[in-house]
């Protein structure tokens, strides 16, 4: 445990740990989903782009798990936290529980997630927990490219008419009901706001996110995402698709649990 983390009161430390876990798991799962396109994307040039984005997200997950490992200080390293939990122990948002789907699903998921994540990162811009503030500053610089890339695609799919637009609307019909789960309230989020870690609670963040995406959705004639149906279960009860993914990414590691890979 570092001096910075020791200075936190236990309730704040627990709430911060949960925030870090939520963020890290989000980045891990979307990173895995996007990396599934590596080698099979619609265009070779685009394949390389999507893989870079996946690698960025996985890198962010790794850095966040490291912060979490320092904070909870229970002997687990970043890999142990990332890999050695049962599927029900993961805390990513339900938006990321959907299978990879087609290219329109990927663009819709990326757009919904990236815009919500950007609001969350902005709310951490002046975070009182210095290690997280420093990391967030770096992550935000990388996320800029992701938003440029996904916006370019959203515009093209929505503006193309015909099949691309129909597929985009179908993808939004599947995913948008879960979009608000990224910014759904975390347990004890009040203590994060009180401690100056987050600059606002989830209600405000949700409003900021809607204000952010509203103009683009209106211009492109896309339906705004509804509020989360079950905000309290936004990060639990994971899907079959996630259980499959979990089975895959833990399969080698579980063959020889004591081994170094």
């Amino acid at each position: 445990m570092t001096a910075v983390s020791e200075a936190l009161v236990p309730a704040t430390r627990d709430a911060l740990a949960l925030l870090l876990l939520a963020m890290a798991d989000d980045e891990l799962v979307i990173g895995f989903s996007d990396s599934e396109w590596t080698g099979i994307a619609p265009l070779l040039e685009e394949d390389v782009a999507m893989s870079s984005i996946a690698q960025d997200e996985l890198g962010h997950a790794q850095a966040l798990y490291r912060l979490l490992a320092e904070l909870v200080d229970d002997g687990r390293d970043a890999d142990a936290i990332a890999y050695d939990r049962p599927p029900e122990g993961y805390f990513h948002a339900r938006l990321l529980d959907h299978p990879r789907g087609d290219w329109a699903d990927t663009i819709a998921r990326r757009y919904l997630y990236d815009t919500a994540d950007a609001v969350r990162l902005e709310a951490l811009g002046a975070c009182s927990y210095e290690p997280l503030r420093e990391l967030v500053a770096k992550i935000r610089r990388e996320e800029r490219y992701h938003r440029m890339h996904v916006s370019a695609w959203l515009e093209r799919l929505a503006g193309a008419g015909g099949e691309p637009r129909r597929r985009l609307l179908d993808a939004l019909a599947r995913l948008a009901p879960d979009a608000a789960t990224v910014l759904a309230p975390l347990p004890n989020e009040l203590s994060l706001v009180m401690a100056g870690i987050l600059d606002a609670g989830s209600v405000d963040l949700d409003a900021r996110w809607r204000a952010e995406i509203g103009p683009a959705f209106e211009r492109l004639g896309l339906p705004m995402p509804p509020p989360a149906a079950e905000p309290a279960a936004a990060r639990t009860n994971h899907s079959e698709a996630f259980r499959w993914l979990h089975g895959e990414f833990t399969s080698v590691r579980q063959m020889d649990p004591g081994a170094t890979w």
């Binding site: 265009l43 040039e45 685009e46 390389v48 782009a49 870079s52 490219y145 440029m148 370019a152 008419g161």
Partner: protein
Amino acid sequence: MTAPPLEPWEVFRQEKEGDPMRHGGSVLAPDAELAVHYARELFGRRQESVRLWVVRRADVHDLSDPDLLNPPLDRSFKKPGGYVMRDKLAAARERSGRPKPKASNR
């Protein structure tokens, strides 16, 4: 709706500040915005470039005609190698009695 097909865009990259822009290769893209994204991926994802120029291939004008680039008559007066004065310098030193300077050969 008919639209232009994917077309090649030429990518020039600068490896570090102050270096010349060098041709890196090309990408296929439907428009400048995606061409720039793809150039970043194919010629910059390993942090090997500090600047990229992306140019529609159709906008590149090629000149390789040797009449224009390598005209055959003597142009030695335009090049340092066209000035050979070793023997004349030796003669001058003989007259002056001064030694040959060490560092410079100019």
